[in-house]
Symmetry: C2
Subunit: 453 residues, 2 copies
């Protein structure tokens, strides 16, 4: 009889956290739908052939793999057991847990491309699993909330993502945030410009760290990665852009010879223009030429969102990718999407005290259970209260009133109704507000009027 425990890196969400998390999920879902995104859910596990090779070698290692059911050994031989574990894995495991929502979405698009209405706008709110080493703020199971549009290269989609963020975050109470935006094409142009064509991958990775390690360390890293000193000299203007009053104009004069860079800048300007036309008041967008998000699959816009005033990493990120389904043999489907991190958003809201009190409890009213007569009387009232939309319960056992009130208090139920023989005779019940202690005598219609909204 072992003491039970949680699997490492996983969490239970008890009622109090659930109510708060559902507040976040509901807010996000409502905005996603307001913008015309439709819901999708995919299975928790996928064939490993779908998942492997999509997240780099490290990602392959971080996939949770499911042991084949039944006699998993039957397809192996002694040779396999004596060898290294990686090839053996493929013989005893065919399925793995979802690592993100993007690859399953790509699989869905490919499998349903004959019937899907394009452009396809979907949202997906589901947990993902990664066999990472657990640490503060990093879990092996966590939710992602993704919204993507595929099948169009309209830059309206980028502007709509900006709009979505400006709808969701203030509704959660997060007023002070910054949406950083960059464009991969600009980075590609810069790489060509400095004579390091095709090297924007490592260039991005290094430049991405500018905020954290500073200009000199970035240059050091680039030298180590094989960039020439000449390239670094040519790169110099990039470090000035952060302080520019008119970065797009500066970029255009610096990169005028690069067609792809000019295309990227034109895209950025169009996004800025559409955000403006959409009428977002004081849009919190900021061009950041150093933003790369380390990920190589973005081909156009790149987004990252930070809540200001708190020491918590980015709460959202995304971008445009032109080859979502290419790895499944279907090239040419362009898409753009955003992913919101619920755990980070939860932490931001907690740190800033943004959870409304009403997001603490879902039960509004408890009837006390004084004796059998009052109990039966109370049971007879439940349907009326609930039909009026009031979340109601009656204490199920006849125990001391103090214990019943203590229960309501600890469950943060805001109101209780006290029922005694006098109350039953008169039909006037005592409605007590738990926090203030205020009591009023009301009939059932009065109680409903007092609580319903």
């Amino acid at each position: 009889m072992s003491k039970p425990s949680l699997a490492r890196g996983t969490r239970d969400f008890g009622p109090e956290q659930m109510v708060r998390r559902n507040f976040i999920f509901d807010t996000i879902r409502r905005s996603f739908q307001r913008y015309g995104f439709l819901p999708l859910e995919t299975p928790a596990f996928e064939n490993l052939s779908v998942l492997m090779g999509k997240y780099g070698e490290e990602g392959d290692q971080l996939l949770f793999k499911i042991l084949n059911s039944g006699d998993f050994k039957s397809k192996t031989n002694e040779q396999d057991w004596l060898g290294p574990y990686k090839p053996l894995t493929q013989k005893i495991s065919e399925k793995g847990l979802r690592y993100d929502l993007t690859v399953p979405f790509a699989r869905y698009v490919v499998m349903n491309r004959g019937t899907l209405v394009m452009p396809f706008k979907r949202y997906q709110i589901q947990p993902v699993w990664r066999a990472d080493r657990p640490q503060r703020g990093r879990y092996r199971e966590f939710y992602q909330c993704d919204a993507d549009v595929v099948g169009t290269d309209s830059l309206l989609c980028e502007a709509e993502i900006v709009g979505l963020l400006h709808a969701i975050l203030p509704e959660l109470g997060i007023q002070d945030f910054t949406v950083k935006i960059n464009n991969r094409k600009v980075l590609t142009g810069i790489a060509t410009m400095i004579g390091a064509s095709g090297q924007e991958g490592p260039l991005c990775v290094a430049i991405d760290k500018l905020d954290k390690i500073g200009k000199e360390k970035v240059k050091e890293e680039l030298l180590q990665k094989g960039f020439h000193q000449d390239s670094l000299t040519l790169l110099e203007p990039i470090f000035e852009l952060a302080h520019s009053q008119n970065p797009f104009a500066d970029l255009k004069s610096w990169l005028s010879s690069s067609e792809v860079a000019m295309q990227g800048i034109a895209e950025l300007e169009e996004v800025w223009k559409l955000v403006n036309i959409a009428g977002i008041p004081n849009p919190k967008i900021q061009f950041d030429v150093t933003l790369a998000r380390g990920l190589s699959y973005y081909t156009g816009a790149i987004f990252e969102v930070k809540a200001n005033g708190v020491q918590i990493g980015s709460i959202s990120g995304g971008g445009r990718y032109d080859n979502l389904t290419g790895t499944f043999g279907v090239p040419g489907i362009s898409g753009v999407g955003i992913s919101l991190g619920v755990d980070r958003i939860y932490d931001v809201m907690e740190e800033l005290g943004l959870f409304p009190d009403s997001a603490q409890a879902t039960t509004q009213l408890m009837l006390t259970n004084f004796d059998r007569q009052a109990f039966e009387y109370g049971v007879g009232l439940l349907a009326k209260l609930r039909n009026a939309g009031i979340n109601t319960e009656i204490y199920p056992d006849s125990v001391k009133l103090k214990k019943q009130l203590d229960y309501a208090d600890r469950k943060q139920i805001p109101y209780v109704v006290l029922i005694g023989s006098e109350e039953i005779q008169s039909g006037l019940l005592t409605l007590k507000h738990m926090q203030t202690g205020d009591q009023q005598k009301l009939d059932i219609a009065g109680i409903i009027a007092a609580l319903a909204h």
Copy 2:
């Protein structure tokens, strides 16, 4: 580049199914909360020490087991690989996917019993996974919706479950259903009565099949299981109960010498009484002495719900268990719960045509994109429409109007707004109802008034 496929026994839920499923989930969740149940979520995977041995030997086999991360071979030797696969499993796998919501709930209660407010009423809506052979209507991933109360033996909880079902099912449109109720104590008393004390397990399993295989086959099975012919003679009254006008009275005279059976009958009568007091009009409850649900852990009430008029198995089941947390070393916590099967409910609703039209789409309005001028004009309207609570999108690309309308049609978006240069000048836009083809000229306030609710 392989053609991607779904893992066997799993499903994607596309937008149309998702909207319908969310309608079911939302309805269930609302009623759970109306009755004072609080939300809980537990991780998708648990330590195998938590899961193994809880579902019988067959259940252990049906658990999806997760291969340990990294070099899972490092804790094994050649001997392990030469032996049978079951002991080897334990050396290379420490975690398994959730098989139901009850055992993780029990683990949660045990781990948090110091701080939990008892009685604890929780609901939990999450997927579970079973390595069953997939077949029609049976999947390897499916959702369970459970509501349980632990920490009280009040029979009000049983009556509240009946109330919950009478709140949820009609709200889904399922009006014609039957809640079958039995009590394990009655079955225990019968076993003793017929001289087969302690044999109510196999007795239940056989009697459970009465509906399917008939009286004679049930007797045959009991004989095969070692029941005496004398026992079967003594058992005879049970087959008459189905037609009894007053089954509780008949049971009481038959089982008067069994204290435990009389206790069970008293419990049933109290549940009937409380359902009556609760004011459920024409409660669709039916005592069924043959109901056993094959599960050995019920100790009091047993529930099963069937939708009438369709050939689909039970849509809900549950009961009282007195030893939920006993396997984790914490005895004496009584609980009672109900589980709703969303897949079965979905099938019932589809067969009976119960899904409302409005449960088909979430986007209400699409603006067309005639040319750049109309596009910019439309983008400027989006915020107003969305702020009024209307789920709106604008077609992102400038393509032929026919293609745009086709998109709205296939997405089942009920309304489109047509914007041309004339409309922009006058401010009167054409609102078109897609299904009827009706068109009206309205300003933006008029469109909002026509669509908002």
